[in-house]
């Protein structure tokens, strides 16, 4: 939980900053003239990565809110766009890339939201490209901010007002209360990252249980939202076959495949610098001791035949219960696609098109 609030002097009077301060009025707050004050406060901590999860810094986004997901040329990218509402996360997954991505990692929420909505207006007004997928869950979890910001209450209707762009809210929480009774026009996809309960227990600290995530998904389905699921990161361990198979069964026993826009599969991969962080912060975790090799993007990945094996099985289990659902890989190459799916995305117009088409079906 948040134990300290810092507010960037330049944004202290922004409406979003005032609302959050009011909601967090019991927490000590300090107005700072620049971010280095916040960083200094974290640097003294014995575990700045953990401390950064308890310190909330309200500031402005100096860059654009909307940007293209960087992807890499070596693997097939889905052509996603990131809506950068804030950074970092209050939960604490062993494998979270954000631990190594920000220096130092700190919860930042961007309150200069006029700019955010201006950028959205501009995007909505464009005629090209015909479709667009935007997500808030790349540098943070999409729904952790809800208790203090209620962002979804504004963002979802905003996207509902147009027909060309979908918003994906990706989460490991069950914080969907604010999504009730909101006009969404099926332009918001609510998505969960899933892993078997044993992995959630050992590696996804502070996240909602599988049961709670699936119950939240069923709730959103009942409210008419399209859903998506991300089996990412897939982790290879002793009982992975049984556990993932059971997970797929539970998913389709809870929600209807008809309401699933897409399912992604991504095996655990990490920047080399994350290994030391995991070793230090989670000494009991074994996930970094798989057969990892340096990938073409310099991230560590499971040796390819191992990836292909887990993907093949996952695809088969999913297709057995949901033959029509769109399954795709996050950052894999043509060989993996061909071996596991029997086709490569470019045969079907490319991965971005496959996903755009799937999202466009939900009207």
């Amino acid at each position: 939980m948040i134990s300290r609030l810092y507010i960037d002097e330049k944004v202290k009077d922004e409406p979003a900053a005032l609302t959050i301060q009011e909601r967090l009025h019991t927490i000590p707050a300090t107005v700072v003239t620049d971010a280095s004050r916040v960083h200094e406060a974290l640097a003294d901590s014995t575990d700045p990565v953990a401390q950064g999860k308890r310190v909330l810094f309200l500031t402005r986004n100096r860059g654009p809110f909307l940007r293209k997901c960087p992807g890499t040329r070596s693997y097939i990218c889905c052509g996603y766009h990131i809506l950068n509402i804030g950074t970092y996360c209050t939960m604490d997954c062993t494998y979270c890339i954000l631990q190594a991505y920000f220096h130092p990692p700190v919860l930042q929420y961007f309150v200069n939201q006029e700019q955010l909505y201006n950028e959205l207006d501009h995007l909505f007004s464009l005629k090209k490209p015909p479709f667009y997928r935007v997500g808030t869950g790349e540098f943070t979890d999409s729904l952790i901010w809800e208790p203090w910001t209620e962002l979804s209450k504004t963002l979802i209707p905003y996207f509902a007002s147009q027909d060309r762009i979908v918003l994906e809210l990706k989460t490991k929480t069950s914080a969907v209360g604010n999504l009730k009774c909101i006009t969404h026009n099926k332009k918001t996809i609510v998505a969960w990252s899933l892993n078997p309960p044993s992995i959630i227990r050992s590696e996804e600290h502070g996240t909602a249980s599988l049961k709670a995530r699936l119950a939240a998904a069923a709730q959103c389905e009942a409210w008419g939202y399209p859903l998506a699921f991300h089996f990412d990161p897939l982790i290879i361990y002793k009982d992975w076959e049984n556990d993932y198979r059971q997970l797929v069964r539970e998913l389709f026993a809870t929600v209807s495949s008809k309401n699933i826009v897409w399912i992604s599969l991504g095996s655990f991969r990490f920047m080399p610098s994350l290994k030391q962080i995991i070793r230090k912060r989670f000494p009991k975790s074994k996930i970094i001791y798989g057969e990892f090799i340096p990938g073409l993007d310099n991230k560590m990945r499971y040796f390819k035949p191992l990836r292909i094996e887990i993907y093949k099985k996952m695809v088969a289990w999913i297709k057995e219960l949901a033959p029509d659902v769109v399954v795709y890989f996050c950052m894999e190459d043509e060989e993996v696609w061909k071996e596991t799916m029997g086709f490569v995305p470019k045969d079907r117009g490319g991965l971005p098109k496959m996903l755009d088409d799937s999202a466009a079906r939900f009207r």
């Binding site: 070596s74 001791y289 057969e291 090799i293 040796f303 390819k304």
Partner: protein, 320 residues
Amino acid sequence: MKYDDKLVPILEIDTEDNMFRLSLEPDPNSLIAAIQSVGLINPPVLRQKEDLRYRIVCGFRRISACRHLGWHEIDVRLVVGDVSELDLFELAILDNRSHRAISVVEQARGIQKLEPYIPSENRLETLASLLGFPVNKKVFQKIRALGRLPEPVLAEVLNNTLSFEAAVHLCPFSPKEALCFLDLFKGLKLSQNKQIEIITLVQEIAMREDLWIKKVLQSSDIKSVLERPDLNRNEKGSLLRAYLKRRRFPALAKTQERIVKALKALRLNEHVHIIPPPYFEGGPYTLRMTFKNQDDFSKRLKTLDAIAKNPDLKKVLEPY
């Protein structure tokens, strides 16, 4: 600081009290002959304790040598008056540094002993200037970590059996585990990077297979490598590393073995080489061909043509 020069019975010196000792167990041998021939020129510095025995501040080796020579009494300089422990530590360190550079092991032990006395705000700078290491947080942390290692391991750092960086890698292990690694390294001749590689591989194998470090290090496969009389220490090191890599990365190792076999079946010669992409992750294969003249060039093309028709080429290009 005030001193009393005094003759003190050796038995009244508490030689078990290591409070101000930075070096490992003192080896008096090098001093015995010198003291025997010219006497004790530079008297040790002592401080009287509450139990009235004497604590050594400087001169552990000198006192040890005198004991070996059977002396009963010894000239000392006794620190008197109100002097803090930190001042005495500084004296001990400066005495050491006055006649030689202090070792990294002594720096580690110095950090361990002095840290509690020095406020955290300027700890790094103060310790660095006292103990003679660079003012660098990373260096400081590494040297400090060494202080946790058992003495036999530290002794081998000084003997160069174990590199400084490898010793730092041993710091997270229990003393018993560190000693197991030490036993292994004593029987091998390895560069710093290879020592670190072995430590990492063993630790990761232990994690993967849910085994104690000791169990991995004492596995029969490792023993059989170490006990081979036909290999020198270098060869044993190479064989051990290869074994550990195979155990740590079994699927990759199997693929590599298959590829080696398939490449052999292609009957390449020393002029034509096929190099698979790193880790078979994707990316191009490399063909390397050498030739001296046009005739050579034509011969190589024939070899390439034969390779292209060889069904084993598929096994190389589709490794899994």
